[in-house]
Amino acid sequence: PRAGGQCPACGGPTLELESQRELLLHLAKRSILDKLHLSQRPTLNRPVSRAALRTALQRLHGVPQGALPEDNREQECEIISFAETDSTSAYSSLLTFHLSTPRFHHLYHARLWLHMLPTLPGTLCLRIFRWGPRRRHQRSRTLLAEHHITNLGWHALTLPSSGLRGEKSGVLKLQLDCRPLEGNNSTVTGQPRRLLDTAGHQQPFLELKIRANEPGAGRARRR
């Protein structure tokens, strides 16, 4: 209704259209930030390459999503975290992830996606370690998983979610060590090449699934 008239719904004064629109946009922002438990919109400190993002989403869309009961789906949050990579040697890489989810302790599903290069012939044994906090100039590390890789290209490597929890700093470091499988008769010839393909859109990433509440908490509350 025109400005200056009376609102037919509440009887109050009507706003002109422009300020109605501004009020609505303010309401929309407030409503989205509240529901995402954010005090303000995120400032993007770490730009994400759109090509890497597209590749990651295509990878994940190809994977059948575990069917979740409807009510759990509302409590669920899925995260893709891209790695910063340092190749510490030809057969070893260090992946650093910056996770900012306060609810990280309800993590229940973790997979590391890697694009492997044709480094060595035959089967490779890939070990994934988690770096612990530094103590007296020593960095502890925990073996999370060991996978045998026979072909190049993308690999989705399952990690124990319990091994990834409890990271207070939000920075998670995973070290990859790759060796020819014992008894593998292929001899290492020539200068070894890089293990991972991290160029452009082949960036390694973590796929995580988190429940907003501890499983069953909703049911307890309803009871």
């Binding site: 209704p1 037919p8 719904a9 509440c10 609505l24 946009l25 309401l27 929309a28 922002k29 409503s31 989205i32 529901k35 995402l36 919109r41 995120p42 400032t43 993007l44 400190n45 770490r46 730009p47 994400v48 993002l53 990651a56 989403l57 789906r73 509302e74 669920e76 949050c77 899925e78 995260i79 893709i80 975290s81 891209f82 910056h98 996770l99 900012s100 989810t101 939000g170």
Partner: protein
């Protein structure tokens, strides 16, 4: 839910589509491109009190008639959402992680008098 004409004074659902580009948020909200910011507003005369926003059942129709015949309604009632649905969002957090989450009760689907 009765479709809302701007001049409708009675309680109904007012539909508004908000494009995230208009909020300047298209850089961090990747999907969808916008969402329905619907809200409920309108008068709730006594005979509408307690009636759901969608097709009222026989019971609530009779209940409303009883109310309408009672000249002293117990109290005024308000125009509130009676059905809402979640909205799936794909967005970037401040560390550049991609987060996909279903935000519950994000879109108002129906309104009615409390």
């Amino acid at each position: 839910t009765p479709t809302c004409e701007p001049a409708t004074p009675l309680c109904c659902r007012r539909d508004h589509y908000v494009d995230f580009q208009e909020l300047g948020w298209q850089d961090w909200i990747l999907q969808p491109e916008g969402y329905q910011l619907n809200y409920c507003s309108g008068q709730c005369p006594p005979h509408l009190a307690g009636s759901p926003g969608i097709a009222a059942s026989f019971h609530s129709a009779v209940f409303s008639l009883l109310k309408a015949n009672n000249p002293w309604p117990a109290s005024t009632s308000c125009c509130v959402p009676t059905a809402r649905r979640p909205l799936s969002l794909l967005y970037l957090d401040h560390n550049g992680n991609v987060v996909k989450t279903d935000v519950p009760d994000m879109v108002v689907e129906a309104c009615g008098c409390s």
